[in-house]
Symmetry: C2
């Protein structure tokens, strides 16, 4: 087992982490002080619940100390008080429960395990990492053997695990401890869950915390003072109030570890108008069956997940990078949703964090490197959905919609939930960029070895190439025309709320390098597939892109963001396409002219401070405070791995700055967030896209 990936800090890190099963669009979110975490299923953010992890101050004391994840009596945001500061503040309390002060708590985090230690209490949450086998569809010949694949059955289990250790070796009497939460579902009440070999508290039919620890009891009530305040019996059936606890008692002289599972379930046909349900319903008809499997396979699951952490081998990253990667992986899985449609076919969705747009294609391409490493079939699944239902044609040819819908509502086929005509900024069309995104994501998938899939799609690839070419009537190697769908507006890029330096698609150098990456892959691929003419045209345009870019280099060696504004803003992501090229098999060093000018550009904008924030963090555009962390990660990979910029103190300072953004005193309740305005999460929060950091593992 590898050690923790972040060092211990003097003030404990209170960033929320999404402890998430794979494909359940669910998170047990924990870390931020106050009622900002809990068990969330299908939500746009943290569930906003109080979570209790508490131990009695001494045997028989009747007072308890807890991790600080709950509402205090006085309803103030307890964060400020927990964090302390120069002035003395009263402790965070509710009845007999007091939050542990920050200086008594240690936390360690990796991509699976988030461990909290304080005095006699140790609480480790583990969430899945590892293989996610492709589920057979109902029409598949082997569908009858579905249940025969135990790895799939365990991989889709909608639960995360925890170990709750209470050390009473020094005690002279039994020590009580408890774990619990205050539910927040508008439709259901809390309930006791009892089954052979397990005990739990649940909120209706959607979430539960369970244990198989012998002697554990459950309690439900209005709040902690009600539950712990008077010590009287509760009656066998009392069920009012939204707070449910699992209560343990550890005998004197013992140190006990209790195994827990945090479970999620819904049997609903969650999407409309096409009806899909969570695929885990094949194996788990309800919360109880989830709970039984989670506890019954606890050791098997945990061993597998820890092995996946070893395989990830993130310990060779710096602590800051390992931390960001771990956080990002957890938020990615929190947004994932593995469904099956009415015909029993698997449907993979990555929700867009707080926005919940479904399979947003400009995110798909950024997730592709991670998915290609972990479970390539999910990437193929999305590419095929996109092709079958969310492709369309404008006057230039084929492209793909921004997304497939929002919050479990499928858009009409051929339309996104996002794009509207007549605009030049947010909510305009991303036709040109999404075309590139589909091609590049298809390239990444093909790179996982499924060349047959690629070969079968040669017509589509040729279609995509023709569409790219048509958007560049002057053969400059870069998109110069907007889709007719913008109807008087202008096409935008994934940087939709940035200014035109990155927001405008037409004549964008960022788009040019990205297009070059797509052309280079199409060139090789079409050649292999026998379309020599297409390959030649793709290669020609790639060359033209380099030529166009070369011609646009300014006197200081930097590239403008927009070809038609030579003295305009400078941006970092002009280098991003190099990563896409490299990750789709193009030898970027075979294009020294391009890498040379991009190296010079990037070094200059960074060293000059034009593209840095005062804290050392990277600033994607010199004319905007709006930055996307996922894209910074990718450009950092380009800088170090492909352009040879030194991994020096400045790089480390940038990492430290970026970690600081994620640890913002209040906004870190959103766990991993992407869009940062001057270092403060301002959108794209609770977001899956940070897994671009997985590219760092490719650095030598």
């Amino acid at each position: 087992m590898t050690g923790p990936l972040i060092e211990e800090r003097t003030t404990v890190d209170l960033t929320n982490v999404q402890h998430s099963p794979m494909g359940a669009h669910a998170s047990f979110t924990l870390g931020h002080a106050g009622p900002h975490g809990g068990l969330g299923l299908g939500l746009a953010g943290p569930a906003g619940q109080s979570v209790y992890v508490a131990v009695e101050d001494a045997p028989g004391a009747g007072t308890y100390s807890a991790l600080p994840f709950f509402t205090a009596d006085d309803q103030d945001d307890p964060l400020a008080r927990f964090q302390g500061g120069e002035e003395a503040r009263p402790p965070v309390t509710t009845g007999p429960l007091t939050a542990l002060p920050a200086d008594r708590v240690r936390r360690t985090l990796d991509a699976v395990t988030d461990r909290w230690t304080a005095g006699t209490l140790d609480f480790a949450v583990h969430s899945p990492l590892g293989a996610l086998p492709e589920p057979p569809g109902a029409g598949d010949p082997d569908a009858g053997d579905r249940d025969a694949d135990p790895a799939l059955r365990l991989a889709v289990l909608p639960a995360v695990l925890a170990e709750f250790t209470v050390d009473n070796t020094a005690g002279t009497g039994p020590l009580r401890a408890f774990v619990g939460y205050a539910g927040s579902d508008p439709y259901s009440g809390m309930r006791h869950l009892a089954a052979p070999a397990l005990t739990g508290v649940a909120e209706g039919i959607r979430t539960a915390i369970v244990t198989d620890a012998p002697g554990a009891r459950t309690a439900i009530g209005f709040d902690i003072p009600f539950l712990l305040g008077d010590g009287r019996g509760q009656g066998a059936g009392f069920g009012l109030g939204q707070t449910g606890l699992l209560v343990f008692e550890v005998p004197a002289g013992e140190r006990r570890t209790h195994q827990l599972a945090f479970c999620f379930h819904t049997a609903e046909q969650v999407t409309a108008p096409e009806r899909c349900r969570y695929l885990y319903n094949r194996y788990y008809p309800d919360l109880d069956s989830v709970a039984a499997t989670a506890l019954g396979s606890f050791d098997t699951l945990l061993t597998g997940w820890r092995r996946a952490v070893d395989d990830l081998d993130a310990t060779r990253l710096s602590a800051d990078r390992a931390y960001m990667l771990a956080l990002a992986i957890r938020s990615y899985y929190g947004s994932t949703e593995l469904l099956e449609d009415a015909g029993g076919r698997p449907v993979w969705i990555v929700n867009e964090g707080e926005f919940r747009m479904m399979n947003t294609l400009d995110l798909t391409v950024d997730h592709s490197f991670f998915e290609a490493r972990q479970h390539p079939w999910t990437l193929r699944n999305v590419l095929e959905q996109q092709l079958a239902r969310y492709s369309y044609r404008d006057r230039f040819g084929i492209s793909f919609t921004h997304d497939m819908g929002v919050a479990n509502v499928w858009s009409p086929h051929g339309h996104s939930s996002y794009e509207r005509p007549g605009l030049s900024d947010c909510f305009s069309y991303m036709t040109g960029e999404q075309l590139l995104n589909w091609v590049i994501a298809a390239a990444v998938y093909t790179g996982t070895g499924d060349t047959a899939w690629c070969a079968a799609r040669i017509d589509t690839l040729r279609d995509c190439l023709d569409s790219m070419l048509a958007r560049d009537p002057g053969a400059a190697g870069v998109q110069t025309e907007d889709s007719d769908l913008v109807a008087g507006g202008a096409e935008i890029t994934t940087y939709d709320s940035l200014d035109t330096s990155l927001g405008q698609a037409r004549s964008s150098t960022y788009m040019a390098v990205k297009g070059w990456a797509a052309y280079r892959w199409l060139e090789r691929t079409l050649h292999l597939l026998g379309d020599t003419a297409g390959a030649e045209e793709a290669g020609f345009r790639a060359g033209r892109a380099v030529k166009t870019l070369t011609a646009s280099v300014g006197a200081d060696g930097t590239l403008p963001a927009l070809l038609d504004d030579p003295d305009g803003a400078r941006i970092i992501p002009v280098v991003e396409g190099l990563a896409l090229a490299h990750l789709t098999g193009t030898d970027v060093h075979a294009e020294p002219q391009l890498t040379g000018l991009l190296r010079e550009h990037l070094r200059t904008v960074l060293d000059s401070g034009r593209c840095r924030f005062p804290d050392g963090g990277w600033k994607l555009s010199e004319t905007s405070d709006n930055s996307w962390l996922s894209k910074i990660y990718l450009c950092q990979f380009v800088a170090r791995a492909l352009l040879g910029l030194p991994d020096d103190a400045q790089m480390a300072a940038a990492d430290r700055a970026h970690v600081g953004w994620l640890r913002h005193p209040t906004e870190s309740r959103w766990s991993w967030s992407d869009q940062m305005i001057a270092g403060v999460a301002a959108g794209s929060r609770y977001y899956p896209r940070g897994v671009t950091a997985v590219t760092w593992l490719l650095e030598r």
Copy 2:
């Protein structure tokens, strides 16, 4: 068709009304200014949504006027501004939409129709009233004919209807108008709903507003300024934002009425641990099928509902009484839930308003008169659930739990979600009173004609009698012993948060008269069933109760609340048992001693002002400001119909005061509420129990 039951008022009534299907635990709630209504399914209160009912100020104006049910731009509670006052206030607006001022709006309400009229706009919401046939169980011989009963199929339809009339007879161009809402489900987004012959906006798979009006369009967006502000096209698929509108256009010179349906649906197994789903799933697998039936059967449904209003014949009540009855009926249905269990057996639940406790037995008895009139089988269904799963035995014998669970979570059998040991007030046991409640509710059901049901339960009735007798070891005719379950505490009554004058069960004169009513019915019933000894014992104890009560009359002719506190508080509900006796077939006038002393008591406590609030409203206990409106209604029936108190100006003043409580400036957002502290709804809000007012229809 009958006319409206309330007169027009100079300031329009802004009390929320729950427009509710039967058995769907759903309401389209409307009436309170601001975002305090909307489409709620399975909630503890109003959905808290903005609702839009708007018409363009003039053809082509681009500005709109609407009923005031939405959030204004500045996020202030718009209620105060809508209500105006001495100081001039700016109008409630959001972008091009302005709320109609109160003095331009008329409202009329009866038990089915809630009509709003202002200028060119007329909006009438209609919700079900009438027969609810008993659904066959899956094991019934005629279960195969389920779908053969069109009346049942329509009765369980989870939808309410509306007519939206726009008068453009004076217009010179097309006039636009719209109806819509801002969804609030945490799990789903808004969507367009399109099917043959209908158009709608839906929130996920749970709620929708649909129309079959030709040419109606839908629009989804963030808010009203976004949707109406720029007039640009929206794109075919735009789906972001929680606001959905149905947009109509009425040609110049025309007045058009558009038929709408407000639809609810969930296919979930909503309860746990026993799994039940809404019975309507037999007929309606999804929102679309609900919508199609609602619109396709619009005229049939509405005609039936209006006929039920005629049958109710509430027009002979005063306007205030008719208003309260209408409001109460609507809130009752909003709490009802018709499910079927895993075996296909129908399960009727009345949720306890904002508390959502299930089939609370002290409410069941108060709903029994209404259910006996409208659909007696629901009463039997609850009585049988109570007997099979929620009866228990203490040291004295059989009783019944306070409730069957909370918020769709069933309590462990034999336990309520409410009762706890060791208490003497709220959450203590109601063992003695629930025993009486089951007997009396069974008596009310038997009175609907099902004597066979009663005869088959003679052992239970005898068991109940024995249990009653055992709680009165001194044969005083009144409960003098508490259940052992209270474990050092004391039994309480349904008045759980009142002081001991009504909150204490033991030696309570309120309980004594209620017990007398039960004894009298048991006396006759056991006699008919051949249990002569039981009948005699019941009759003997009824007589002892009268004797005990007679002996406790004070010098001023009033009865104390508690037999062991002769100089203590005076209460109104000591007379309540007379209603229960009368409604279970006992001729109360055959007991002149009892009616005489109760008449004297009631006249004295009312005339002296001991049991009146300053506004003329009834005060259930002279020592508490805590009153329950449902119980006042029942005691008013006793006063006028059974004790001969005059229906005079004081009675009318009391009605006017009670209407005033329900029309509280802010608390009227809770629609019909029961528990009032000095005339302000303080608990038991959004509550079903007001249907005790149905007894008023028995007055001559």
